[in-house]
Point group: C2
Amino acid sequence: LKIGKLYGIGVGPGDPELLTFKAKRILEKVEVLLVPKSKMEKRSLALSIISGVVDKDWQILELLLPMIKDKEELQKHWQQAAKQVFDVLQQGKDAAFITLGDPTIYSTFTYLMKYVQNLEPEVQVEIVPGISAVNSISAWIKQPLAEGEESLVIIPAINEKDEIEKAIDQFDNIVLLKAGSQTNKVLEILEDKDLLDKGFYVSRCGFKDGFYTSNLKEIFNKKFDYLSTMIIKKGLGDGKK
Amino acid sequence: LKIGKLYGIGVGPGDPELLTFKAKRILEKVEVLLVPKSKMEKRSLALSIISGVVDKDWQILELLLPMIKDKEELQKHWQQAAKQVFDVLQQGKDAAFITLGDPTIYSTFTYLMKYVQNLEPEVQVEIVPGISAVNSISAWIKQPLAEGEESLVIIPAINEKDEIEKAIDQFDNIVLLKAGSQTNKVLEILEDKDLLDKGFYVSRCGFKDGFYTSNLKEIFNKKFDYLSTMIIKKGLGDGKK
């Protein structure tokens, strides 16, 4: 029996129309859908995105991948998930892991891929790129992420203050991911460097209650959703609205 | 007469299957296609990507945007292009500018948008994100661009050596764009920092003659295509093939 193929499929940032034709074709073809869940009871957002677009009665395999800090505990969950996946592939079935955004940018797919390859290095893997959240945010606020010879840094806002300062000091465009709980830390850096007029705060892009602002002063001390992003554009000119 | 809407549409990295459903729907709807050309005689790659997927007889407006360094001369070309586009919009027609990859990452669309908005600030603009070349490269070589709390820097390789060194010193994952003519400069930096085993060289991803290697030592002094990318992953483990 030929071992099945493992696909990592980016389903885009949320709008089902931002799925690619390739993602749809492969999702229609595979027998098994691998759906990551951080809590077993939570409905998968990636699954709801494709449900409206791809009409197929997959065998669904839920992988419990909790967000925990204990590395040993986490590793056990990954090994368990990889074993579940490998069992399916060994039955000769192709399986697709669906991920929000793109499978190579802050996705759990690349971890799964490595754990499965540790079990069996010969497993065939194919990654289908998807529109990442960063690109949907820049499209929404109508701002280039980078132009010409400019540099672009993408960094989770949870990083230490001095790491974020270095990024802001030395590069042209800085995207701070998961900024929700880190907002004040970043705003203080921007105030120190007189850059409060060079940025955007984007919350829940793609959702009905999403919003963005370029008036960073007004968001000091406000509480925002985890799904928030800050974009600093040091070259932002007077054309900014 | 209502002024037409200006769309910036990412058509993805080259494979027509990596177009999104939204891009296709809007391309089927608009009357005018805006096709950037660096030389008037060169066939547009973005146009050839959509030609096989979207069946529509557009009015095609070619915009001559040469790659020149003289800023004043370049500005004249942009103003001319913006005027051509605005003339079409004023006829009440919607127009779509098609761009390889994504319209907010190193695309000329964001320049065009600004020049058109300078002529008439009330022009409605919509950006449809596309799969960027960077994401198609990481999918091809099956490597994460960034995981967990890692940082990611994207920087054109034409930047000064010390800029590239800073990026490599301070961040986890570094993508060097348009690396073709800059290969040796980057390789010397990597050799100095003992990082020659932590990178990938990717040439003409998506083309028939495309290739990649993780053996960076073997590419010293070789000549490569402009469409080359280097990816440095400082955390690359022994799992690398």
